[in-house]
Symmetry: C2
Subunit: 417 residues, 2 copies
């Protein structure tokens, strides 16, 4: 199996000022292509340390991906190291990257300085993958077998996360071509509401019946639920084979499947609403605006999202949402009665087709901490449900919000049915 190491460069990583998020995202892309990551490393902006580390990594894995240390103010320390490793004797200008640099800077109304121009200059023995999202290109250094005991390839990516990730499809294509990797076809099915172990039990017969060459991975996430990743080495399987397998899975899991396109819960809710021309509003107590924040993180949410009342105090629940005082005094604010009244109240207030409301104890106070009630309302019905978690305050708020979005999704599906 082809192996890879990932090396991130920057003093700001080593002093803990920034958390390296590039490595995990690059690892996901490599994994999808069937390349196994064996090591992740971070080193500072020091030439000897980078050089030692890259040499060591090239000796122990087929592919090395390095990010960072390429900015115009960073003294191009990574590029200098690659110059040496590649045995280059001069720098050459990559004309394609230079024209991208001109285009990017002129669109920002900036002049192209010598320091910008220098970013298009690469060691002569390297290949170049242009970076369309930024000024520093990706360089590819190919080492023949003699050098490290095996064919090794070094890809140097910019450190800016969206530029590094933007370059990954081209990098993966290059790796697949150089190492003659069998292509892998992936299909990811997002589920919510069934724990990983229960899910595995539910679909064990289906999983055992998968044709040879198919494999299944469970990727659990506290907020996204469990993603099921079906992988097939070789060409994309025939449509009818794939469709047969998926419809088997749909028959078992039903509504627990919320996306077959790796969408988030908030994006799926958005698509359901835009698709039917309907609108939604939210009334949040314990989630404190988190659900609104998730819904509005989707570009274009203003087409279906009318707004939220974050009713953190009893008085706002009563005066703005119109929850009757007796409901609160008799049942308390964390009750099915209260969230039903909150959901109905915000729907009336905003005139939306659907609404969702939350009230619970995020912690550390409240009894029991981790309990949330969710209310759902439409013109034809009102429903409530409760969920319990055992996390700290911030994680509870996240899980409450994800559960409420999932309950809203199922509610819209049942009402549209």
């Amino acid at each position: 199996m082809t192996t890879a190491s990932i090396c991130t460069i920057g003093d700001e990583i080593l002093i803990g000022q920034i958390t390296d998020t590039n490595s995990a995202k690059i690892a996901v892309e490599l994994g999808k292509a069937g390349i196994r990551v064996t090591r992740m490393v971070s080193v500072g902006d020091s030439r000897p340390e980078i050089e030692n580390m890259l040499t060591e990594l090239l000796g122990s894995s087929d592919v090395v991906i390095v990010t960072g240390g390429l900015g115009p103010t960073k003294d191009d320390v990574t590029k200098n190291v690659i110059f040496g490793l590649s045995g280059s004797r001069r720098y050459v200008t990559d004309e394609e990257q230079l024209s991208i640099i001109h285009r990017i800077l002129s669109s920002r109304g900036l002049d192209v300085l010598e320091s910008n121009r220098r970013q298009a200059s690469v060691p002569e023995n390297c290949d170049v993958i242009p970076n369309r999202l930024g000024t520093a290109p990706v360089t590819v250094t190919r080492f023949p077998e003699g050098r490290f005991g095996h064919k090794a390839t070094l890809y140097s990516l910019p450190g800016v996360p969206y530029e590094a990730l933007g370059a990954m499809p081209d990098v993966i294509k290059d790796i697949c071509a150089s190492y003659m990797l069998a292509p892998i076809y992936h299909k990811t099915i997002m589920t919510y509401g069934i724990a990983e172990s229960a899910l595995a039990e539910k679909i064990s017969a289906w999983e055992e019946s998968l044709p040879s060459g198919f494999s299944l991975a469970y990727l659990p996430d506290p907020v996204k639920g469990v993603a099921l990743r079906l992988s097939v080495y070789g060409e994309k399987p025939a449509d009818d084979v794939l469709e047969g397998l998926l419809s088997g899975l749909r028959a078992i899991l039903g509504d627990a499947i919320y996306s077959e396109q790796e969408d988030t819960l908030q994006a799926v809710v958005g698509k359901l609403l835009s698709g039917s021309g309907k609108t939604v509003s939210t009334a949040e107590s314990c989630t404190g605006g988190k659900i609104a924040s998730l819904i509005t993180s989707v570009a274009g949410a203003s087409a279906y999202y009318l707004g939220s009342v974050v009713s953190y105090s009893e008085s706002v629940k009563e005066s703005v949402l119109g929850v009757r005082h007796e409901i609160i005094s008799r049942h308390g604010v964390v009750s099915p009665e209260c969230v039903a009244a909150m959901a109905e109240g915000v729907r009336r207030l905003t005139g939306s087709d659907f609404s969702v409301a939350t009230s619970g104890y995020a912690g550390p106070d409240g009894n029991p901490a981790g309990l949330v009630w969710v209310g759902l309302s439409s013109a034809s019905s009102t429903k409530t449900a409760s969920f319990s978690f055992r996390n700290d305050r911030l994680r509870n708020i996240e899980r409450f919000s994800a559960s409420a979005l999932d309950a809203l999704r199922r509610f819209i599906l049942s009402e549209n049915a």
Copy 2:
């Protein structure tokens, strides 16, 4: 200078399923103690890979901190490696950790299983730092000079982030004692609203006048602003010396300083309000609930936070917040007039003492994307301000929210004055 490496263990890190956040937080704590981190590494749950990596790191730095691979289901792979490296011939039970395990499990109503009990068992040649937050203790393996060419110490921490970080004060204390490190005293001053380069210029004369032994670090963050970290090697400086320096800084930066205790903006706003028995409400358009979510992330926010109206649609701005239709038709929703009316509307609606409102273009649409207007209201006055950023949608929403919280903080200060 004493150097350290950090090694995180787990296949889930290498496949990119989780992002390693432990390393950055551990690095910050080491840095504060004057220990320089030279390398961060992640490896999988494989005994030979862990053994090779730890041996290599122990050879190149004084201290190695390893996290993960200690759970009851992980086959204690890290512990097995440490057993071998430490030259132990048997495991011994750490009675203090065993009693912590009993206490933790009984408080959850669980029985102590053999797998739990095994976590208190450590290689005989290791010292133990008890883990009061979880079941796996910290082991300390001390290697004499002969082994790696220098005195080396290996600390093995649990992988659960809050347990690993909870153990760091004791780990730092142990390192300082073993390596006779001079203590360092730190004072961090949080600022918002002045860019790093402008800040450096503003305080350059003050910085140059710092007594010898004092050093200053700039730690910029897009959401928290710029933290200024003043460090002094040796004992804590005399109170009057420190107070003299800080009052010099306060005279230059004034309101731009929002905390001398490393608080967040939302925590500072909360303290200002609880201190004066006042309340606040929010009205959010482009920030879509993010400000509410930040305010309610602080435990105890219900004492001063009444709620929010997330008015994503024009109709909610008019019907719920009472923004007059002419204001919107004449000035548009992204205008000082509209945010002033939103802020006044939500204050009237909730009866709060203060309010803050936002309206802007988070992007990718809107012209100009990145512009936000912030409205502030109290019984005695209404103010507006605008801020511009050039980021993507999610980052713009974060920066809009931080700017609004900072504007609210300054507004409360000026009203309380």
